[in-house]
Structures are given as structure tokens and as C-alpha cells.
Symmetry: C2
DNA sequence: GGGGAAGTTTACGTTAACGTAAAGTGGCTC
DNA sequence: GAGCCACTTTACGTTAACGTAAACTTCCCC
């Protein structure tokens, strides 16, 4: 027997509303099974949701996350498409590198800011 | 004599529209000098703009960037406020750490995706 | 002095990512 | 069988971050 989740369980676990989860489905990022009307989420669905939320924390749009999700499964046997996929993966990688660099710059700027603030405090 | 920039120069350098730069001013993130009606940007203004755009690449809202800008200058001699500032700096630092972790996870996921894609390619 | 180019203000329009409200369904439990 | 809880659909509302258009000024050039 395999574990499943209700929409409410996932909403609570990741601190989002059920509206948000349904919206992601509407946008084609999730497609859970149904038992009657009710949505049943698999561990894979849960992983996908986690991926979306990770993307959000990095400022990705839902379109970008959808792209990321598609990267995560081959879903093609066409040479052209597979090679295009490799390019998109490389692009994403480059974007992540830029973000890493941005974070490092901001971190040292925070270092400076903290130092100056402590200076101002001891100067009182 | 100190270097200055026109709004068009900054727009070209950072690949944004002048509308965007004026919007940031409207939101209180920039406040350039004026010569008559015309805006004159200092190197400090330019640095601020760079900070905003760096924030954007990391998914910060303009409100967050405004906060970041305020962190970058003491702008207070009040003990309470300075200590509050230290907390906000620590918070930002924690957020950046989370983003770092998220990036690392995504990087290894891209590694996997690339490996699987190459597999699929050689399997043709 | 007519025409561009670059600047300005004002104002309405647009898109993404949900929030919020209304009205209904299915299952449980007392 | 009344009430409650978690789920559902439908649909209109909202906010952030600009885009876009109109009408104007300033300066330079020929």
C-alpha cells in the first residue's frame, strides 16, 4: 500500500492554502488522481509541490517552475527535443549560478551593514 | 568633478525602461537630484539601482529591496532602532541561507535531469 | 524656426498569483 | 436527520510591478 495525501494535508504541511494548490493544478503544474470529485495526491505529487515552492522562494514564476518540472522527467524520445532540453537545463544552471553570485554579494553587504550598525551602537 | 548619469544612460546600462526607474522613485527607492525638471543620478543612486535589480533576480519584492536599502545606511542614532535593524539584518541573512540551500538542491536535481536526458539520448 | 531626441507628468491598462465569497456534495456521528 | 467537517466548482476581486499612450517642455542642429 502506498501513501497518499489529501489537499488539506498538503496545505497544512507546506503552509499554503488549498486554493493555491488547486491553482497550481489549474496552471498545469499538478495533476492528482481523483476518487470521485476528491483529489488524491501521491508522493510524486507532493515532490512536485515541493519543487514549485522551492522555485517560489527563489523568485521563479509558475511558468518557470512548470518548465523545471518538465525537465525533471524525460517525457520524450525525440532527439531534437532532448537536445533542446539539455540547453534549457544549461540555461537554468547559469541562472542559478547568477543567483549564487548575487547572494554572495548581498551577504558581504549585510556584513558591512552589520559592522556599521554595531559601530553606531558602540558610538552611543 | 563627480560623475552623474541621466535616466536614459542608467536604463541602457541595466537594460530596464525609464518607466521602471521612475517607478522605483515613485515607490521611494530612489531620490535623484534635479536640474530643473530633469533627474540627475549620482554614483550612489546607481549603486542603489543595482541593489534593487540584484534583489529582483533573487525574487525580492520592491518592499524588501527598500528595506535592504535602509539597512545599508545607518540613518538612526536611536538604540532601539539600531538593535531592531540588527535583527532585520539577521533575518535577511537567514533568508539568504535558505535560498542558498534551495539553489544547491536544485543544482543536484539539474544534475540528475541532465544525466537522465543524456541516457535517453544514448539509448536512441 | 522647424524638427528630432531625450526628458517630463498624468493616467489608464495589463499580467501573475492568488484571495475571497457563494453555493453545493459526501461522509461521520450523536 | 441535523449538524459539522472537509471537500468541490464557479466566479469576481485584489495587489505588485510595471507597460503604454498622450500631451508637454527643453535643447540642439541645420
Amino acid at each position: 500500500m502506498t501513501t497518499t495525501y489529501s489537499i488539506g494535508e498538503l496545505a497544512r504541511e507546506f503552509d499554503v492554502t488549498t486554493r493555491t494548490i488547486r491553482f497550481y493544478e489549474d496552471q498545469g503544474l499538478l495533476s492528482p488522481r481523483r476518487r470521485g470529485q476528491t483529489r488524491i495526491y501521491s508522493p510524486a505529487d507532493r515532490t512536485t509541490l515541493k519543487l514549485i515552492l522551492r522555485g517560489k522562494r527563489l523568485g521563479f514564476s509558475l511558468a518557470e517552475s512548470r518548465d523545471l518540472i518538465r525537465m525533471y522527467r524525460p517525457a520524450s524520445d525525440n532527439r531534437q527535443q532532448l537536445e533542446a532540453l539539455l540547453e534549457r537545463i544549461a540555461d537554468k544552471r547559469a541562472q542559478l549560478e547568477r543567483q549564487l553570485a548575487d547572494i554572495h554579494v548581498l551577504q558581504t553587504e549585510l556584513d558591512d551593514a552589520e559592522a556599521r550598525t554595531r559601530q553606531a551602537l558602540t558610538a552611543l
